[in-house]
Amino acid sequence: MRVALFIPCFIDQLFPNVGIAMVTVLRRLQVEVDYPPEQTCCGQPAFNTGYWDDARALAKRYCEIFADADAIVSPSGSCTAMVRNFYPELLGKATKATTHTYEFAEFLVKKLGVTDVGAKFPQRVTYHDSCHALRELRIKDEPRQLLRRVRGLELIEMDQAETCCGFGGTFSVKFPMISYAMDEVKVSSIQKTGAEYVVSTDSSCLMQIDGYLRRQNLPIKTISLAEVLAST
């Protein structure tokens, strides 16, 4: 199988290791990966702010760049939701590129039928459901199935796993007081689990959670699901 990688702009720039980890896992599973270098941003910041014309231009661009791919895989539920759920609304129709874009965990479990990727991560972790993965893409069990098969990993559920972390893109800087309060609620739920790591499909949520953890000097670390799965 051959897949095209969709590496969202902020992962490309701020969290390249997440993309590299995804490549590592896919190659370990004998999947051939390709990375179209023209890709930039899916347009979500414009779309969420109300600039649909601007977002539409980038949606068209995405569909052209990925027109020939049989499967497009991304380490972000949020950007995948943008492509799969919102591009059709922007463009007035779904395209092969929009319907064939998958979030990494769902691609592994649903498309490849794999839950054991041969990873080892002997830590206590808790899983944070990204809102877009959970409620736009309905990804709930897939990341957990993958985590349960990681050697040495202990998964402890938090009471507010499905509560938003408060990131929300530009929301986090437009309404920092609300965003921060939501972060606080999230972290307090994480703390109650006694986990050493918070794992999520989405690095944007983890950036928000990590921003709070580091400022408060809390001993909990954030790590993307892709990086956990790449660990051996």
Binding site: D12, F15, P16, P37, T49, G168, G211, R215
Partner: protein
């Protein structure tokens, strides 16, 4: 756009999110609600199916609202009631005052009604020297405190038992107590006297039933029943979206509303009002009036994309599910309808320029849409509102220009790479400070690594 409403929202949200006691009270009350509602939903054989059925009935009603409203009107008239079509809040207030004058009304007892909040009825009555008395316990507490309802279903969700005891001490001269029962009895004693002496009863309407011309009322205290049956005149003020086609639809909507609103199988009192007192009947008002309130609802009806927001049965579930509501509380919104549904409909019902900031005050987490019993696409409508706001110039020229530059950058991998290099350089040297301040004031921002994924791929990834 910076408006007074927006500045007030930001100020109040800042104060409320910093008030940890306030947040703890809300969290505790919503936790209690969550447990009850989980049980309430579990009573349905198939909750998701019930939501779909309700959405289908509401969709059909709203799409043929003209027909159902006329059917309702004919049946109300046939039952001996009166109908008034109020296009605006002013029309509705004017008609209530006119009725009050005609009947020499001095005192009005009111049961809980958000439409009367929406049209600011109490202020209008008081200005005419008429004394309105809120008889729902929560609303009564709001009234004596001089506050607006904090929540569309639970008006004093922000108060503890001790807060209420203190309010009763201060405002009613009641003795101190920590017993909820005693507090209720204090209010009960006060309110009973008011019921007996009121000239007019004003209620809302949870549902208006087209095929029988009836108003359905849902409550837990019996105060609505006393409000519409004891005084000489009953006026029900109902939003036009409250129509349901058939009496039998209540078999779904009553339990759906109580399950989502409070977790009850059905509320303690469920009343159907089918007109004034008829001959040989022993109780009921001499006159029954229904005011059908538009007040901007037809603007929403004309918007095919967001018309489903008129499905709302005002259960409050989206407020209780909303992480923004849970942290800022109901008063910060500054609107009659708070939380996700309020942020969706207020720009349509009122001035869009003034209220669109609420559509941006959401992380778009979708928890609201997930719980809505009539499947309103709430968080996507916040996106639609944002798009509409930009189309009408809400954003301002600076932000618009920024997004044009951003788009120009993102349309070319070369420009993207250069912009990223510049941005990362600024970030590493701490030069992006002012821009990132809303973030970095209380959170760390990541330091960009030396190489991007693109560079990794070009140098090593492709060949690995």
């Amino acid at each position: 756009m910076t408006t007074v409403a927006r500045l007030q929202f930001e100020r109040d949200a800042t104060v409320k999110t910093a008030d940890l006691r306030h947040r703890a009270v809300i969290q505790k009350n919503i936790n209690t609600y969550d447990i009850a509602v989980a049980k309430g939903r579990a009573r349905f054989a198939d909750w998701q199916n019930a939501r779909s059925d309700a959405a289908a009935i509401k969709c059909e009603t709203i799409n043929h609202l003209d027909r159902y409203l006329e059917q309702f009107e004919q049946n109300v008239l046939a039952n001996g009631g009166h109908i008034f079509w109020a296009e605006t809040a002013e029309d509705a207030r004017g008609h209530v005052l006119e009725l009050a004058r005609r009947h020499g009304v001095h005192k009005v007892v009111k049961s809980k009604s958000m439409t009367t909040e929406e049209i600011h009825l109490n202020e209008a009555l008081e200005a005419e020297g008429i004394h309105p008395i809120e008889t729902d316990l929560g609303e009564y507490i709001c009234q004596i405190r001089g506050e607006r309802p904090y929540h569309i279903v639970t008006p004093v969700m922000h108060l503890t038992k001790a807060d209420i005891a203190q309010t009763f001490q201060e405002k009613l001269g009641a003795p101190p107590t920590d017993s909820a029962e005693e507090l209720t009895m204090i209010a009960r004693a006060k309110l009973r006297r008011e019921f007996m002496t009121a000239d007019m009863g004003i209620t809302g309407g949870n549902f208006a039933i087209a095929d029988t011309g009836m108003i359905a009322l849902t409550e837990n205290e019996g105060n609505a029943r006393l409000s519409f049956s004891l005084p000489r005149v009953h006026v029900a003020i109902v939003g036009i979206e409250k129509l349901i086609p058939r009496l039998e639809d209540l078999a779904l909507f009553w339990p759906l509303l109580s399950a989502s609103g409070t977790g009850q199988a059905i509320t303690a009192y469920s009343s159907l009002i089918g007109g004034p007192r008829h001959e040989r009947e022993v109780d009921g008002p001499q006159e029954f009036h229904v005011i059908l309130l538009d007040n901007g609802r037809t603007r929403l009806l004309a918007d095919i994309e967001q018309r489903d927001a008129l499905h709302c049965i005002r259960c409050g579930a989206c407020l209780n599910a909303c992480p923004v509501y849970k942290n800022i509380g109901g008063h910060a919104y500054g609107t009659t309808y708070q939380g996700p549904i309020g942020s969706v409909i207020t720009p349509h019902l009122r001035d869009a320029q003034k209220w669109s900031h609420l559509s941006y005050a959401s992380s778009l987490c979708g928890a609201c849409t997930n719980v809505c019993p009539v499947r309103i696409d709430l968080h996507h409508h916040l996106l639609h509102n944002r798009r509409n706001a930009v189309h009408s110039g809400f954003d301002g020229p600076i932000q618009r220009l920024l997004f044009r530059v951003w788009l120009w950058t993102m349309q070319s991998p070369v420009r993207y790479a250069i912009a990223a290099k510049l941005g990362n350089f600024a970030l590493r040297r701490g030069m992006a400070g002012p821009l990132l301040k809303p973030w970095t004031a209380r959170r760390e921002f990541p330091t960009p690594p030396k190489h991007s994924f693109k560079e990794y791929w070009r140098e090593r990834g492709r060949r690995a």
